[in-house]
């Protein structure tokens, strides 16, 4: 079966972001960019399905600027077979991205689409669910285990109180949580091979998708700083402070 994996180029998770002085956003100049960690897990899951002989082809797609080719090449080095870049210089909302991905799904006809549960920049946690709505597919979000049969996917999901398992008719959408797998690193020979794998670029216009948005970001600010308190010398002093000063116990 064909598997489509969607990935996003984001600020590397080790970078401590800074808000711009004019409050127009966060400063992304000269900042290390990487594949969103949840998307790495999505790629890994697809590669494992291929290694098990369940997936026949892995297509990786991203919506982003021309530089997002780097993240597609990373996915190709990890084991994806070919890549699609939907090129858009502007920052798009999750709904716009989901509409673009829907157009790619229509064209590619995958049986399974795997996405990260959320991107660590916008923290929206929307795109997979929206793509599921637009395609009419079932959705297994926050997945910690995925098992595929001929016509169904059995997905174990991380929910507030523990784990939930659902059965979805294929084609279906899965979004990854942290414990689904541990992504591998790309080997140097595979990085070299990835340079020769096919990468196609399309535009939102060519896909016939409008990326108009109903959300507008007015400003971005640094969060209120929490100042450090005091160091206590003993457990007894701590208990005294909690009882008499903070009055929380």
């Amino acid at each position: 079966m064909k598997v489509l994996v969607a990935v996003k180029r984001v600020v590397d998770y080790n970078v401590k972001v800074r808000v711009k002085a004019d409050n127009s956003g966060v400063d992304l100049a000269n900042v290390k960019m990487s594949m969103n960690p949840f998307c790495e897990i999505a790629v890994e899951e697809a590669v494992r399905l291929k290694e098990k002989g369940v997936a026949s082809e892995i297509v990786v797609v991203t919506v982003g600027p021309a530089t997002a080719q780097e993240q597609l090449r990373t996915a190709l080095a990890l084991g994806a077979d070919r890549a699609v870049l939907v090129e858009s210089a502007e920052e798009l909302t999750s709904l716009a991205v989901a509409k673009l991905l829907k157009a790619v799904v229509d064209k590619e006809q995958p049986q399974l689409v795997i996405l990260g549960k959320q991107a660590i920049d916008s923290d929206n946690n929307q795109t997979g669910q929206m793509l599921a709505a637009l395609t009419g597919f079932g959705q297994g979000t926050f997945a910690s285990k995925v098992e595929l049969a001929d016509t169904t996917a059995i997905v174990t999901r991380e929910i507030d109180g523990g784990l939930q398992t659902v059965s979805l008719k294929l084609p279906a959408i899965v979004t990854t949580d942290l414990r689904l797998n541990e992504p591998r690193y790309a080997s140097l020979p595979n990085i070299m091979k990835a340079k020769k794998k096919p990468l196609e670029t399309v535009t939102p216009d060519a896909l016939g998708v409008s990326t108009a948005s109903t959300n507008k970001t007015l400003k971005v600010e640094a969060p209120a700083a929490r100042s450090a308190g005091i160091k206590v010398k003993s457990v007894a002093e701590l208990v005294e402070k909690l009882k008499n000063e903070a009055k929380v116990i």
Partner: protein, 309 residues
């Protein structure tokens, strides 16, 4: 303006996050209706009708809505939502699962995890794991929003007397089925609703050592959480994780034990009223956000703390 709040419920009771979500709706202003969708939820609907400030409760009681499968619940919410100015759900795993599906069906952008209401169309929400706060304005005809419970003080669960209306619509998409669930059983309070949370990190060294935290928590009537490092190391299950990718908590008292204080962890607990850090490394970043820091060996400090409280 009329606002539809999607109720979170479990075991026949209204979940606390619903009350925080109604509080967010009250800040927006206008009539507040609450949708209770599920199977055998008559009791939940009655309880929801008593929530302070709620004008009407819609109850969709149908086998299709059992277990809150998004393929079935989202079409129901989208159909009802068309008649409202706002659709709000708590940012619980159910809310996060279902509401973006609703937004896409309504062809509007969603605003996720708001922490404040600036006006009827403008909201604040954290981005980059809480390292920046965005102010977002929505021009959508129906504003679809998830609410971070810790951003709003819960409304009273009693005092209202809303009318209850039955919704007959049954949407069964036939795309998905519930197979089963494994819920962590605990006599302690739920993490996101607890007044006191005791959390352990990598410094706990192994899962067995969490018994020290459980003993302290039981003395304090607290919930027990963990950092991602402790979860990844296999000490405790994932549903105990506090942080950017786990649960967001804001209790009266948060006691961080053997937790260094990675950004991802701070994102999940820095809105707690009082933070206590116990760590033997005095350079640990957790001390920069702690109201009371104790540099000590946790294996001595925690049992002593348990004795003294």
């Amino acid at each position: 303006m009329t606002i539809l709040v999607i109720a979170e419920h479990e075991n026949g009771a209204v979940a606390p996050a619903t009350l925080n979500t109604v509080a967010a709706a009250a800040k927006i202003g206008g009539d507040i209706h609450v949708l209770v969708a599920g199977q055998n939820v008559g009791g939940v609907a009655e309880a929801a009708a008593k929530i302070a400030g709620v004008a009407k409760v819609l109850v969709a009681d149908n086998a299709a809505y059992a277990n809150f499968l998004p393929e079935n619940v989202a079409p129901l919410v989208a159909e009802l939502g068309k008649g409202y100015s706002h659709v709000l759900a708590p940012a619980t795993s159910n809310g996060k699962n279902v509401l973006p599906r609703v937004a896409a069906l309504l062809d509007v952008d969603q605003i996720s995890e708001i922490i404040s209401v600036e006006s009827a169309d403008t909201f604040k929400r954290p981005i980059y794991a809480g390292n920046a706060i965005a102010t977002v304005q929505s021009s959508a005809a129906v504003k679809v929003i998830t609410v971070r419970a810790t951003g709003f003080d819960a409304v009273a669960a009693e005092g209202g007397s809303a009318a209850v209306e039955t919704i007959a619509a049954a949407h069964d998409a036939g795309k998905s089925a519930f197979v089963g669930e494994e819920l962590a059983k605990s006599d302690r309070p739920e993490l996101t609703a607890a007044k006191i949370v005791v959390s352990g990190g990598r410094g706990m060294q192994n899962g067995d050592n969490f018994k020290h935290l459980y003993a302290l928590a039981d003395k304090l009537g607290a919930a027990v959480g963990a950092s991602r490092a402790a979860v990844d190391a296999g000490f405790v299950p994932n549903d105990m994780q506090v942080g950017q990718t786990g649960k967001i908590v804001a209790p009266q008292l948060y006691i961080a034990v053997g937790i260094s204080g990675a950004i991802q962890h701070l994102a999940g607990m820095k809105d707690s009223k009082v933070i206590v850090a116990i760590n033997k490394d005095e350079e640990a970043p957790i001390f920069q956000v702690a109201d009371y820091g104790l540099v000590a060996d946790l294996f001595e400090a925690v049992p002593e703390l348990e004795k003294l409280v």
